[in-house]
Every structure is written in C-alpha cells, then in structure tokens.
C-alpha cells in the first residue's frame, strides 16, 4: 500500500512484461482465438464460436473433466501420504544416510514420465521383469486408476518431500518444543504446531503436484486408455492427433483445463493468505535434530523402500530393457549385451546430435526462464506497481497449459504469413515452447526466495549509493541465487527431455533426446530408446549435481 514506489520497479516490470508477453501471452492468446475462431489456422476469423459451444456441450467433456480432477486429487492425496511423513522425519530427525536418500529421491525428477510408465509396464505386466524374477505379476493393478495414481505419485511426490523437509526444517523443532513446554504431547505438538506452520509450503507443493498431474500426458495415455479412463489431456491429444484434426476442439478443452488449474491456484492462494507466517527470521538458527532411537530401523526401511520404488524400479527396468538384446529373450545372461549403448554412442540415427541439441536447449531454457522468472518475481513481490497481479497470473498460467496446446498455440501465432521474421521452423521455437512450459518453476522459486528477503536489504543498498539495477545485481540476485539456481537446474533437466510439445513443434530436421527416444519406440526399437533414456537420466542428474558441488566449493551456495 505504498503511494509512490521508488526503485527498480519500472525496468523490472518492463522486462518481465515483455518476456511474459512473448513467452506466455502469444501462445495463450492464439489458443483462445483458435477456440473462438475455428478457421484461424487459415488466417480467417469466420464463424466465431461455432465449434466452441459444440465442444463444450459434448457430454463426454463432463466425464473427461471429472476423470482429470479425480486423477489429480488421487495423485495429490497419495503424494501427501508418502511425502509428508518422510519429509517431516527428514527435517526433524537425524536420518542415517540422509544425503543418499535426498539424491535418490531427486532422480524421479529426471525420469521422463513416459519412460517411467513404460518401465513400470515392462516390470509389472504378465511375463514382465517382476514375473521373470519373482514368478508373479501385478498387471491388474497397473492398468487402473490405482496404477496410474501410483506411477504418477512415484514420479511427482519428491516435489512435496523436498518442500516439506525444507519448510519444516525452517520452522524447526523449536516451535514444537515451545508447544511441548505448554503441555502438548509430541503428537499433539506436531498436529497443532508444526503441521499448521508448514502448511504454506505444503500447500504450494501439493498445488504443483495437482497441476502436473492434470497436465500429464504419458501416463494416462499408456495406462488409462486401456482402462477406458480418458482425461482432458488425452482428449486434447486425440483431437490433435487423430484424423480429422480438430484444433478448435483441442483449444476449447485446453481452456477447460486452464480453468481447473486456475481454480487450484486460487485455492492455494486462499490457504496461503489465511495462514502466512514469516518463519525465516534474520538470525539463522542451528537446526537441532533429534536422534531416531528405536525408530531408526523402520525409518531406514521406509526410506529404502520408497527410494527403491520411485527410483530403483523405473531405472532398473530402463536399464534391463536397454541391456537385453531382444525383449522376447527376457532377463537371461546370454541375452544381455551393450549393443544398444554402443548404438547410442556410435551415433545411431543422430543420437549424439540429439543429446547435444537437447542439452544446449536445456541450458538456454534455464537461462531465459531464470532471468524472466527472477525479474517477474521481483516485480510481484518487491514492488507495488500496477499490473503486478497480471504478471503473477501470467507466470503460473503455463502450469495449466498442456505442452501440446502450447505447441499448437506457438505454431498458430508464429506462422502467420504477415510476420517479417518468425522463429517458427527454427530451434528458437523449441526454446519458446520450453520457456513457456517451464517458466512457472523459476518464477515460483524466485517468488518464495524474494518473500524471505527483508525489504530493507534493498533499501540499504540504495541509500548506500547503489542504483536500482546495481542493488538488484549485487544484493537481491545473490540472495535468491541458491533458490533460483536449483529451479534453473530443474528446468534444465525438464527441458532437455520434453516430449509432448517437441513432437509437434520441432523444426524440420531437428532431433532432441525425447524425439529420438519416441521415434525409436514408434519403430519398435524399445531397447535403443531405453538406452538413450538411461544415458539422458544419468547425464541430467549428474550435470546439475556436479554444478551444485562446484557452486558450493566456490562458496556461492551454502551447503
């Protein structure tokens, strides 16, 4: 509520505004216009609304939307059940081998959902790896809502785990200790003090999981369709992929998905506004963690089991498929061989070029989303300029846009004949697509980081003689850098393996990691695809970890 704000507001808002306009508004506006004007692709605004109403009044829409919400809520609930206890224990107790579990639970971020799903299918289906090893299979569970929920949960619950362990660590056992002084049992102190204080971080991470779940394509497509379980994204995909193509219908369904996501976003906002605590004070406090005592063995077993399910099973399935010469040969010693890996490194069908392209695109995407996310978060949190709510909404909007819709929107927008120059059909269009899809990641982390920085740190720099840009560069940026860097590393990993938008929007002649894998699967070379997937997961896990280690050594990021 400041009357007139002095500071870096104007340049930051301009930079954020221009970036968001290009990255988010352009494709989103194209999708909205496509929903309204069915002939937009041909550059015509004829027959507005003619198909929108038909799509929205389709009775199947209710079922798809219902299934979408059901799946989203199921994944949220399962993720919470799995991640909250683990995260709490990790934050409050001295868990043996804690860094190992953290790394193992980081890997699911790097496993593309379509790969994880295929890994689970090849493990659990009849005569799958489980049956080959243990003599039984779990196929009936796999191809059902339960199966979908479990596979997606193992892929996304680390978001909640890391959010919970971080916030609870910040809240510390201190407040719970205060509660116990006043006579609360450990359990009551936990439920009445620690849990409510951690609620904002928990709610934010659960929203991320919900947004990711309703937007996920690979798992529902592979597991849900067989169970007759159609969600909005698979509905959108079939409108975009099955002849005759129905782009207006896909756009209209996307808008329904956007509304669902926005509703979730508003619920989270509401929760955060009701319970907002500044738990991170200026004075750092050494976290007092308690020993586990007799609980050590069961806790260790739980961490091991969850790590095995989330990381071990998919990775082993990927590796097994990559190392077997033929799939029908199964897990027999004489069927093992490194041929698929040799093919990847031998440059089969441009595997190495695809790897290089994707890693470069990943780095560029991380850089662009890092800059725009940081600037937009600054404008939203640290200034009171008009339009900052619009900036806030725009940074989370892509969460609600399925990758395939972003891709179609980008083509519609950037392939208009009147444009003097277009990034379409150049690698730039992939960069645009990835930036749009992944911008919420950096914006969210940067926003959280800015919220924890006292306003006076910037004011002090200004009074000391630093101009607004200098204060941003010398004071604010270094302070949010640890958060921003981890978000950028995540963006790097996600961008370097993005599939759904890439399939539609990739420029001619361009290979990326995900396209390479997908094309191998399409042509029946599952083993080669899995070898590439394994290499990718290892590279995208090790590169960021090495980078973080380097940062720590140089003292830029606190250990």
């Amino acid at each position: 509520m400041r009357a007139k704000e002095i500071g870096g507001a104007a340049p930051a808002a301009w930079l954020a505004g221009i970036g968001l306009a290009v990255i988010v508004v352009v494709p989103f506006a194209a999708v909205v216009l496509q929903a309204i004007f069915p002939n937009l692709g041909r550059g015509s605004f004829a027959e507005p609304f003619s198909l929108l109403l038909a799509t929205l009044s389709d009775i199947r829409l209710v079922g798809m939307a219902g299934n979408t919400v059901l799946l989203g809520l199921a994944v949220v609930a399962a993720s919470a059940c799995l991640a909250v206890p683990l995260g709490m224990v990790r934050a409050l107790y001295r868990v043996p081998l804690a860094p190992l579990w953290d790394v193992l639970l980081l890997v699911p971020f790097m496993i593309p959902p379509y790969i994880a799903t295929l890994g689970w299918i090849m493990t659990l289906q009849p005569r799958g790896y489980l049956e080959q090893i243990a003599g039984f299979n779990l196929a009936p569970i796999l191809f059902s809502l339960t199966g979908m929920t479990l596979v997606m949960t193992f892929n996304t619950f680390p978001v909640v785990y890391f959010a919970v362990s971080r916030t609870v660590e910040a809240v510390g056992s201190r407040y719970a200790g205060v509660g116990r002084v006043f006579g609360a049992s450990p359990l009551r102190a936990f439920f009445h003090i620690t849990l409510p204080l951690s609620a904002p971080g928990l709610a934010a991470s659960l929203l991320l999981v919900f947004a990711a779940a309703i937007e996920e394509y690979g798992t529902p497509a592979a597991l849900g369709r067989r169970a007759g379980f159609e969600v909005l994204v698979t509905g959108i995909d079939s409108r975009v992929s099955d002849w005759p193509i129905d782009l207006p219908g896909a756009a209209a369904l996307s808008l329904v998905l956007v509304l669902l996501s926005l509703a979730a976003f508003l619920v989270q906002r509401w929760i955060l506004n009701r319970r907002s605590y500044q738990t991170v004070g200026g004075k750092p406090q050494a976290a007092e963690k308690q020993p586990l005592g007799r609980l050590a063995a069961p806790v260790l077993a739980a961490f091991a089991a969850v790590s095995f399910l989330a990381t071990g099973v998919p990775m082993l399935a990927v590796l097994a498929t990559a190392l077997t010469r033929t799939i029908s040969g199964g897990l027999r010693l004489d069927n093992l061989g490194g041929g698929n890996f040799a093919a990847v490194f031998g440059g089969a069908s441009g595997a190495l070029a695809a790897l290089g392209n994707s890693l470069l695109l990943g780095v560029l995407t991380a850089a662009v989303t890092g800059v725009i996310g940081a600037v937009a978060a600054y404008a939203v949190v640290k200034t009171r300029i008009r339009g900052r709510t619009a900036i806030d909404v725009l940074t989370v909007l892509p969460n609600a846009l399925p990758g395939i819709v972003v891709a179609v929107g980008l083509i519609l927008a950037w392939n208009m004949p009147a444009l003097p120059f277009t990034p379409y059909n150049t690698p730039l269009i992939l960069l645009f697509a990835y930036c749009c899809i992944l911008l919420p990641q950096t914006a969210r982390y940067a926003t959280a980081a800015f919220l924890q920085i006292g306003d006076n740190l910037e004011a002090a720099a200004r009074v000391c003689g630093a101009s607004a840009p200098t204060a941003f560069r010398r004071i604010l940026l270094p302070l949010i850098f640890p958060s921003l860097a981890s978000a950028m590393l995540l963006v790097f990993a996600l961008a370097s393996r993005e599939l759904v938008a890439s399939v539609v929007v990739a420029p001619v002649g361009m290979q990326t990691i995900a396209l390479f894998i997908w094309r191998q699967f399409e042509q029946g070379s599952v083993g080669l695809g899995m070898a590439m997937a394994f290499v990718t997961i290892v590279v995208t896990t090790l590169l960021p970890l090495a980078f973080l280690a380097l940062l720590r050594r140089t003292g830029l990021v606190a250990a």
């Binding site: 740190l457 200004r462 009074v463």
Partner: protein, 359 residues
C-alpha cells in the same frame, strides 16, 4: 535544483504530505535541520516518523510538498523532481540492521565506498577505520550471521558512517536490542555523533533515547509534528498534553477557573496556583518532581509502582478526581491500594496553552 554545499540547512521539508490512497500518513510536515545537528523524530508507532525518514531517504516520494538536502531540492511533488536515494549522499541505519548476509562484515561496510568509486586500497583502509571506530576491529572477515545483535548493529553503523555522508538517517536503530545494551549504545552513539560532528535524523519511540541524543526533538502524532524543540524546552514547556504524556513528564489534568485560582474540573479540590486574569478552563501538567508524599494534603490511592534507579515511581489516583492520575517518587516501596497524601508544588505546574497554539 540549487546545490550549495555551504548551506547551513542540512535538511528541510515544506508542506510535506503523503497519502496512501485515502489514508493520510503525513499531513503537512515543515522542518529544518542545521548542519552538524541531530534531530530526533519521536512518537508512538504509526505516527508517521519512519515514513518521514523514508521520504528524506528517497525510498518514498511525497504526494505533496518538497524535500531539500543541503539546499538542493531532492523531491518536489509540484514539479515532479525526484533524486533517487543513491544520489542523495546519505548513510542509513535500519531497525533490522539490513546487513547483507552474503557479504563479509568488511564487504558490507565497504559497499558505500565501492558505490562512490573509492579505489580498492583506500576502501580497505577506510573500512577498517570505520570498524575500529565502532569497536569491531578484527571482525572484518566474519559473516554478519556469526555476530550478536549488538555487533550487527555496530556493523550497520560503520556502514552508515564510512563514506562520510552529508546526512545520516537512523531508523529506530536500537529497538531490537535489550535494555542494557541499548543504554550503552545510546552513549556510544552520542559520542560518535559528537566526535564526527555528524548531521543526523534519528527516529525512535523511546523518549530517553531522543532526549539523550538529539539537539532537537520533533514529537509526532497522527502524521503531524506536535512540537519541535530542544530537549530542555520540551521538558520545561511541552506544547500539548500528548507531548507531556509521551515524554512521561508527570500527570495531566483538566482544571477550571475558581476564584483567582484553579481547581480540578468537576471537583472541590483546589490547585494552589495563581490564574492569569481572563483565562478559561485549561489542561495542566503536574510534573513528577512537583508531587511529594506528605502527612497532610490531597488524599490518593496507589495504583502501581515501579522501581527506578532513584526510587520507586508510583502512579496514584487522587480521591474524588475521576480520570486524573499523578506520579510521585517515593523512597520507600508503596503497594497498590495503599492510601497516601500528596502535596503539590504550584511553581512547577505547567499550564498548557489553549489547543491549536503550538509553541
């Protein structure tokens, strides 16, 4: 924009107003401060004192009015002129220290020098000098997080003085410290201000700090300055009852004419004080020093007591005088509920001028 380095006026504001939407936060602030002097802005929270400081710093812009520093207009709502904070040559100490946790102590202190383009060698020397001055020699390479609250605030002070700015702003710098440390720091700050002949504006809600440190004190309330005067004048002739209340100078009471004297309004209790001819009902301040325990006199009941260094300060309610509360210093400890008698020295009673006239 006039710039006259020799101007005696270090800061001046005229008709300064600030609105946040419908809310009026500052409502017409006029003040001037001469070079080498210290002005305290004193008032309860929400009175606008910190906002006024941020207007001087350039962290906010005024809705109306003008701010000048060293004779140079730095903000003028009428012309839209505005000099950003970094161009105002200031130092500032914040309530929450506002030290940058990612820099060392020396890095924090050297920052203003770096921004002013001081070469590296000079920077190091002046930084160490400033740290030495605040008693933190040897802490240069530590991180702010490793220091105690008092040490952190000393770093903040060193950062504010290191570039020898023309004006230093203090925003409740000691309010986060415990009482003992606060008292030590007030003394040290006073010595520092005197030794460096600093020009300073000092925001506080603690009257003791203000009266100790400042050459002039502006008592603020509801976005206005109620009284701007030297500490001595403020104590001797407070302009309004709220000033006296805030400075805890004693008890205030409504009085009405009674013959050629006064009596407490609505009661038969007389005040032994001559009334100027023609004056009507008024408010008076009965300073603590004017009240003493006596064998006879006004009957009163002890409400509460608190130990001060020189005795027990008791708040007492004279009998039959609703709403009046006086203070008396007693050498023995009184208990709430005790009945006592008071005598009042009429010469020390201060009659407030009628409302609307401010000295």
């Amino acid at each position: 924009m006039l710039h006259d380095p020799s101007a005696a006026e270090a800061v001046s504001t005229s008709a300064l107003k600030l609105h946040f939407g419908e809310t009026v936060v500052l409502d017409g602030i006029d003040l001037t401060l001469a070079r080498g002097r210290t002005l305290a802005l004193l008032g309860p929270s929400g009175c606008g004192k910190t906002t006024l400081l941020r207007l001087i710093a350039g962290l906010l812009g005024p809705t109306r009015g003008r701010v000048a520093i060293a004779g140079r207009t730095v903000a003028d709502a009428a012309s839209g002129a505005f000099v950003p904070p970094e161009k105002r040559n200031l130092g500032m100490v914040f309530q929450d220290y506002a030290l940058w946790p990612h820099m060392t102590v020396a890095g924090n202190v050297a920052f203003p020098l770096q921004m002013r383009g001081v070469p590296r060698a000079g920077r190091r020397q002046r930084t160490l000098q400033a740290l030495d001055r605040v008693g933190l020699a040897g802490f240069a390479d530590r991180r702010p997080g490793e220091l105690s609250g008092g040490q952190q605030q000393r770093v903040a002070i060193a950062r504010a003085i290191v570039a020898e700015p023309q004006l230093i702003l203090f925003d409740e710098p000691l309010s986060n410290l415990d009482r003992e440390l606060r008292e030590t720091m007030v003394g040290e700050l006073a010595a520092l201000i005197a030794a460096l002949a600093l020009t300073a504006v000092y925001v506080t809600h603690d009257h003791a700090e203000a009266l100790t440190l400042a050459d002039e004190v502006a008592v603020m309330r509801g976005g206005r300055i109620v009284q701007l005067a030297s500490p001595d004048r403020l104590v001797a002739t407070p302009a309004a009852p709220e000033v006296a209340d805030f400075l805890r100078l004693g008890g205030t009471a409504e009085v009405e004419p009674w013959d050629d004297r006064w009596r407490f309004a609505g009661s038969p209790v007389e005040l032994p004080l001559r009334r100027p001819a023609g004056s009507g009902p008024a408010r008076v301040l009965i300073p603590t020093a004017a009240v003493s325990l006596a064998g006879t006199g006004i009957a009163a009941t002890v409400l509460r007591t608190q130990f001060r260094g020189d005795g027990h300060l008791a708040a007492v309610a004279p009998e039959g005088l609703a709403g009046v509360e006086l203070q008396v210093l007693s050498q023995v400890r009184l208990k709430p509920g005790d009945s006592i008698r008071l005598s009042i020295d009429p010469d020390r009673i201060h009659v407030f001028p009628p409302a609307g006239r401010v000295s």
